[in-house]
């Protein structure tokens, strides 16, 4: 039983579940977690970049798109010519994301963003908005306006039955990838020297500089890591969707919501919020389909109304 590749974003329907509410709940739960997995990978990159550089990166969605395009091209080439064993395709997708990060990360940081570091947060959002516009057109110039499909890796892992519902194995692998990403990131930040330096810069960049930390290098590193996470999310979502212009917009709006709900700069917050948003979307799709377009923003507005700093961010003192 194969699932059709949806032209829209990964929203996992299981039309046969409507009869039993237990089944429905299970479906919402599983769909929500699957949705949350790629969302977490993307959003945690966004939140990390915000934590370190204090930039809410609007171009993050375009970087997701670039990752998706790069992976789709690579996958198309690999499976089209039967170059090697099928399972190495996953490694290729990882490589595509890494390549995107290593090219675009330093380029954006050294080439553009460093000229704006001292500016106001809101102005920085505009700078990345400009980057977003530029990247959107650049991807259209490179990959054209047609859709790319890279469904081979999606079918490779077969199907899994769960509570009597059939799921594609790849989706569960994606959950695994999100967990691994989260654990590695947590470990890297909290248990390694580089990570501690990054945390120090997040805490106070001026003091870090005074203590001899090369803050500019940390900025470049953090941005590259952020680009990698965006591209990784894109690369591993690519097999589930049709890669076409405009996917970056959906992603940036969703991951904005995740990051703001979780609290800007918080990794744990991004994880919890990704689940929140995943469940909200899955519940909307199964129960009130017409609300799918805005349920996420509704959740975000509600959370912000009660916790203006998001779920996991400590309120900061106002400086006089």
């Amino acid at each position: 039983m194969t699932r059709k590749v949806d032209a829209d974003f990964p929203k996992d329907h299981a039309p046969d579940v409507q009869r039993m509410s237990a089944k429905l709940a299970a479906a919402i739960l599983i769909d929500g977690v699957i949705d949350a997995s790629w969302l977490f990978i993307v959003a945690v990159g966004l939140t990390l970049v915000f934590g370190v550089l204090n930039i809410l990166n609007f171009a993050h969605g375009s970087l997701f798109a670039v990752g998706a395009y790069a992976a789709a091209s690579a996958v198309g080439w690999y499976y089209g010519g039967e170059v090697g064993p099928p399972f190495l395709g996953y490694l290729l997708m990882l490589g595509a994301a890494l390549a995107v990060a290593l090219i675009l990360g330093p380029l954006l940081e050294r080439g553009v963003l460093r000229f704006f570091y001292r500016r106001d947060e809101v102005v920085l959002v505009l700078v990345t908005y400009a980057l977003f516009l530029i990247l959107e057109d650049a991807t259209k110039l490179i990959w054209g306006a047609e859709s790319y499909y890279a469904s081979e890796p999606y079918a490779l892992l077969g199907n899994v039955a769960f509570f009597g519902l059939s799921y594609v194995g790849y989706d569960f692998a994606l959950i695994g990838l999100a967990v691994v990403t989260g654990v590695l990131l947590w470990f890297g930040l909290n248990r390694t020297v580089t990570g501690k330096i990054v945390l120090a810069v997040i805490h106070d960049r001026d003091i870090s500089r005074a203590m001899g930390v090369n803050v500019n290098r940390v900025f470049a590193f953090a941005l590259t890591l952020g680009v990698f996470l965006a591209a990784l999310g894109g690369a591993f979502t690519a097999p589930k969707i049709s890669v076409q212009p405009g996917i970056g917009i959906t992603v940036i709006l969703l991951s904005f919501a995740v990051v703001v709900i979780g609290g800007l700069g918080s990794v744990e917050g991004a994880a919890i919020a990704a689940l929140f948003v995943g469940f909200a979307r899955a519940a909307a799709i199964h129960l009130v389909p017409w609300a799918e377009l805005f349920i996420v923003y509704l959740v975000m507005a509600l959370v912000l109304a009660f916790r203006p700093e998001g779920l996991f961010r400590r309120a900061s003192a106002r400086k006089i």
Binding site: L56, V112, F115, F116, R119, D120, E121, V122, V123, V125, L126, V127, Y129, A130, L131, F132, L133, I134, E136, D137, A138, K140, L141, I249, L253, F256, A257, V260, L264, W290, A291, L293, F294, Y297, L298, M300, A301, L304, A305, P308, E309, R318, I320
Partner: protein
């Protein structure tokens, strides 16, 4: 009071010049300018907010509200008088602003920006699914009348709408100038610099920002109604975040020093858009992005800050004023 009188006189002269220019201008330019003024009004609202240090990424909410208020009044009640329709747009913006304003009063910086963005996306989502309001296709509108005058032929209709939009624009711009130069308007600058200091001096930042927000909401509604009339069509894209992003772009491009700069920027952008979408349809967005980067990098105060540089030496900007621009 000479400041107020001077502003009003300048507005009257500007309007006369505008009417003449519109009469002499080539036919294709008139609708472009009409739409530019309508959008400029919305951007002027963001400028009002920006003076207090807030940037709204969701002015599409009010733009859309104004457009739909005018559109529904025309379709459901057969109202075709432009003045009445624009007044309804303004009222829609006002009501929505009064509801949303207090909710957002405690937010600053990116939180304010993202929340306004979220609200506009909620409006967008709801409108897309509201089939009685045309759903995602939107609704078509017919040409408005002006104080009982029904222009015949598309050319005179276009010119009449231009004159009307110009009049609304000039009045709104003059009122904004008067407000910006008033004590309450100037408090916005102080609030942007240091809220706590302003509070200790006895003024209410909440009140200052609240008034700016309502002004922006009303201007958004007026701009939306005028855009609806000049486009002859309304759809949920009025509330989409790219529409709001365009208004922010205009506001950044013009800066908050000069009110006139907003409309010059609006016309410039609208011209660039119509040319580049004709000659380079696939790269104009990117060109806009590069343009925006260059403006932020080299002209952080926007186009309007050029007027400060051009001023004769005796009217040099005060230190506070030029500090503000950094």
């Amino acid at each position: 009071m000479t400041g107020v009188v001077g502003t009003l006189a300048a507005a009257a002269i500007a309007y006369a010049a505008l009417a003449l220019a519109g009469y002499a201008a080539p036919n294709w330019l008139v609708p472009v300018a009409t739409l530019a003024f309508s959008k400029g009004l919305v951007a002027l609202g963001i400028v009002a907010l920006m003076r207090g240090g807030l940037v709204s990424f969701g002015q599409g909410t009010f733009y859309c509200a104004g457009a739909y208020a005018a559109g529904m009044a025309m379709r459901s009640f057969g109202i075709s008088d432009a003045t009445l329709l624009v007044a309804l747009g303004a009222i829609a913006g006002l009501i929505l602003g009064l509801i949303i304003g207090p909710l957002l009063a405690g937010y600053r910086g990116i939180f304010f920006a993202t929340l306004t963005l979220a609200l506009s996306m909620i409006v967008y989502g709801i409108l897309n699914k509201t089939y009685s309001l045309g759903g995602s296709d939107g609704l078509n509108l017919h040409a408005p009348s002006f104080f009982g005058y029904h222009p015949a032929g598309s050319e005179s209709a276009g010119y009449a709408l231009f004159l009307f939009t110009g009049l609304v624009t000039v009045i709104a711009a003059a009122l904004c100038r008067v407000h910006f130069d008033s004590v309450r308007g100037l408090l916005s600058h102080a609030a942007r610099d240091n809220e706590i200091r302003v509070e200790y001096l006895g003024a209410s930042v909440r009140w200052v920002n609240g008034i700016n927000f309502v002004i922006a909401a009303v201007l958004g509604g007026v701009g939306g109604a005028l855009s609806a009339l000049s486009l002859g069509h309304i759809d949920p894209d009025f509330a989409f975040w790219t529409t709001s992003g365009e208004f922010v772009f205009l506001a950044i491009l013009s800066g908050y020093v000069s009110v006139t700069a907003v409309f010059i920027a609006a016309i410039l952008v609208e011209l660039v858009r119509s040319f580049s979408s004709q000659y380079f349809p696939n790269t104009w967005q990117g060109a806009l992005g590069i343009f925006l980067l260059l403006i932020i990098l080299f002209l952080p105060g926007g186009l309007g800050s050029l007027s400060l540089r051009l001023r004769p030496i005796r009217a040099k900007p005060s230190r506070a004023e030029s500090e503000n621009l950094k």
